[in-house]
């Protein structure tokens, strides 16, 4: 940081002081209780120091004192926008640890829920990004109109709109009725039309292009070195998607492509998300076609869900990861044969993607820092845990 300050003063013939401003924790666009300690030279950013921990809830420690089944509702609160994806990752980790089979129908339901979650997340992120750009809530409300429809589905299926708590080891909590599947089909059918409308309003907008293009460029090598994942990594042109790499659940059955960015700037991060939603719609269509009646949870696992203290995975460790809408969401579990996990760790994409914030922001204007933060897509529940 010292070096950067010195260079700015050297190149500046006028003897001016830098201004240190705290953006947050109560700021309209830090997406929660996050603080950026920004040093400004006029309007230009000299250094950024992210300060976090305002929402620390001791998630991992709490989980280590609970039974495996009781952790599931806590994972909802990690990334409270995409509770289904969080459930998915945790269920995968426990299933790996205890070697539990998942019936086919449950797999399909899981994929459908995960992809619906991706739609919810990406559409809202783009809305909030436009809010950060100053578009006074219009894109957000258009996005939320679509989000509401999907949340209604979540409510019908799991009983809750955001804190779904729907996945169980070896399946899902309840079966999905045919009426609900029909409703999902309708939403999926109409979604491309909504995306077209959304894009018609945004993608070619000159102010949006001016503001987003060549701002906050993340070079691919830096992205890989900083272990960035998710749409932020793919916007930099690195072809890495856990759905393709890991082929967890039944993702290898679906044909879909991974959209890759060109330059890795804010605009690419915006557009990669749009393209990703289009691919998600394809996955959903195939999954809705392929889903067959059957068991929604493995019969063996129903027994230990009723008696959670009897569920003792064998001694060992497991790492389950999913492509959450924000990136690689991983759960690391170590079992010592007791009903509680001996160690439980969450690899949250929000936290790790945020590490490049300073590299992206330095040299840009204040307004750019806000949209760069918005394009990285953080959720404080997951960041601070």
């Amino acid at each position: 940081m010292d070096e950067k300050t010195v260079t700015v003063q050297d190149t500046n013939p006028m003897d001016t002081e830098t201004l240190e401003v705290n953006f947050g924790p109560q700021h309209p666009s830090t997406h929660g209780v996050f603080r950026m300690n920004i040093v400004l030279d006029g309007e230009t950013i000299v250094s950024v120091k992210p300060v976090m921990g305002y929402l620390h809830r001791n998630h991992e420690q709490i989980a280590e004192n609970l039974t495996y089944a009781a952790v599931m509702p806590y994972t909802d609160r990690l990334d409270y926008f995409n509770s289904m994806a969080n459930n998915f990752g945790y269920a995968l980790a426990v299933e790996k640890l205890a070697r539990i089979e998942v019936p086919e129908r449950a797999q399909y339901i899981r994929v459908i829920m995960a992809e619906l979650t991706r739609l919810v997340n990406h559409v809202s992120v783009i809305g909030f990004l436009l809010n950060d750009l100053g578009a006074f809530f219009t894109p957000v409300l258009y996005a939320f109109r679509e989000r509401e429809k999907i949340l209604d589905i979540f409510e019908a299926i799991s009983g809750s709109r955001m804190m779904c708590n729907y996945f169980r080891f070896g399946g899902v909590k309840r079966d999905v009725s045919d009426a609900d599947l029909e409703q999902i089909r309708k939403i999926v059918q109409k979604f491309p039309a909504f995306l077209d409308e959304f894009e018609a309003l945004l993608t070619k907008n000159e102010i949006l292009c001016m503001r987003c293009q060549n701002v906050g460029v993340l070079p691919p090598d830096l992205a890989v070195n900083a272990s960035i994942t998710g749409p932020v990594l793919r916007a930099s042109g690195v072809n890495y998607d856990i759905r393709k790499v890991d082929r967890y659940s039944i993702y290898e059955r679906f044909s879909f492509r991974i959209p890759l960015g060109d330059k890795g700037d804010v605009y690419d991060r915006y557009y990669v998300r749009i393209l990703e939603m289009r691919e998600s719609v394809k996955i959903l269509e195939q999954a809705l076609k392929g889903i067959r009646p059957g068991e929604f949870i493995h019969p063996k696992s129903t027994s230990f869900l009723k008696l959670p203290r009897n569920f003792k995975p064998p001694v060992g460790e497991a790492y389950g990861r999913v492509e959450s809408p924000k990136g690689e969401l991983g759960y690391y579990l170590v079992s010592d044969g007791t009903p509680q996990p001996w160690r439980y760790h969450v690899r949250s994409p929000s936290l790790i993607n945020l590490t490049v914030l300073e590299d992206l922001c330095v040299g840009h204007k204040v307004a750019d820092a806000i949209i760069i933060l918005g394009s990285i897509d953080i959720i404080l529940g997951e960041l601070d845990r």
Binding site: L133, T138, I207, N239, R257, I258, D262
Partner: protein, 390 residues
């Protein structure tokens, strides 16, 4: 018809006639001024109150929602509820703020907004003061608000306020230059600075229907939007960046005064744009004052439309637009109007379009850094790659 058109003029004359029966001349003269002042002081805040409601309704429709509808029928009493809330809120002065500046800024900012109303011709014979330097007066008075905003930002002792203040001063000074220059062609053609005479000069046709008038109108309107700190030029109070800019540290009625100044200036600059380019109160069938209000509200509607749809510029892009695009175009426009004035018949049109069109094109090309790029995206499958354009 004539009666409707001159309704307010007759009402004022009636009152003055009544007074003249009992009172000496100088009191009647004072009363004449007081009536105009009171009319403006009632009209301006009322306009502001219902503009806030109108904005919330219009933006609400744009955003797919209903807007305020709880207080009174269609939410018509909402502005009054807001006013009561603002009046009863605690007035907070930050620790270590400069109390004098902090107090004076909201008072001073309302003044120029109200003063502009003096020269606005609301209808035939409905100008409060028919100044022969009306336009000059408008330009002089409207630049006072810059000082008030800087006082607010400096006096609050808040870093967000300070950033907002710096942005405001830079923006308002930059945009005043092309704004003034875009008015010059109108003055040259009308050969007067008086607002009434400018409207009379548009008897043959509104100025906006000429090439220089259209260019002047667009420059004037864009600059007017920027002068009022409205979206997409609202960087001085950019909510997502610097919280609320210069009025971050204001609460209660002081905040309401900033809000009032903004909305009154919105109306004032729209009214002036109507006067200068859209023929003022001239129009068939309807009373003149109704025509004037209709035109002004149409422009205000465009401003609300901007607010509901456009993202915000960045500081450097905002400055670039003013200095690199609007200013040279406004200068060319002055030359064009001279050409228009001295050439005969069809040559006017050919010549002015021949100058304005290419210069517009050249300035667009010179500002190429602001033109969006086309991007190509790869869609990676396992083996074969496809591309899709954005």
């Amino acid at each position: 018809m004539e009666y409707l058109d001159q309704l307010f003029v007759f009402a004022k004359r009636l009152m003055l006639d009544l007074l003249a029966r009992f009172l000496p001349d100088w009191i009647v003269l004072v009363a004449s001024m007081v009536i105009s002042i009171v009319a403006i002081l009632i009209f301006a805040p009322l306009t502001m109150m219902y503009l806030t409601l109108l904005e919330r309704k219009v933006v609400g429709r744009i955003q797919n929602r209903i807007g305020p509808n709880r207080v009174g029928k269609f939410g018509l009493l909402q502005p009054i509820a807001d006013g009561i809330k603002m009046l009863t809120k605690e007035d907070i002065v930050p620790f270590q703020a400069d109390p004098v500046l902090h107090f004076l800024a909201p008072v001073i900012i309302v003044m120029p907004a109200l003063l502009i109303f003096a020269v606005i011709p609301f209808g035939r014979g409905m100008t409060a003061v028919d100044l022969n330097i009306g336009i000059l007066y408008f330009i002089a008075v409207s630049s006072i608000s810059t000082i008030a905003i800087f006082m607010a930002s400096w006096g609050s002792r808040n870093k967000f306020s300070l950033l907002g203040g710096m942005r405001t001063v830079a923006q308002m000074i930059s945009y005043e230059v092309p704004m003034v220059l875009s008015v010059v062609p109108v003055i040259l053609v009308a050969e007067t600075l008086s607002t009434n005479a400018i409207i009379e000069a548009q008897s043959a046709g509104w100025f906006v229907w000429t090439p220089w008038g259209l260019a002047g109108f667009l420059i004037f309107f864009l600059c007017a939007v920027a002068e009022c700190n409205r979206s997409p030029f609202d960087i001085p109070e950019a909510e997502s960046e610097i919280v609320a800019g210069f009025h971050t540290e204001y609460s209660g009625i002081k905040f309401a005064l900033f809000y009032m100044a903004e909305f009154i200036s919105v109306f004032a600059v729209s009214a002036l744009a109507v006067t200068l380019f859209l023929g003022g109160w001239k129009g068939p069938w309807l009373p003149s004052w109704l025509w004037f209000l209709l035109k002004a509200y149409a422009l205000i509607g465009v401003m609300f439309w901007f607010r509901g749809t456009l993202p915000r510029f960045r500081v450097d892009q905002l400055m670039g637009l003013a200095w690199k695009f609007l200013l040279p175009l406004a200068l060319i426009n002055i030359f064009v109007v001279g050409f228009w004035y001295f050439s005969p018949g069809l040559w006017k049109w050919v010549g002015s379009l021949g100058i304005l069109g290419p210069s517009f094109w050249i300035f667009t090309k010179l500002n190429r850094s602001y033109v969006p790029e086309n991007r190509v995206y790869r869609l990676a499958e396992d083996e074969n790659n496809e591309t899709v354009g954005a």
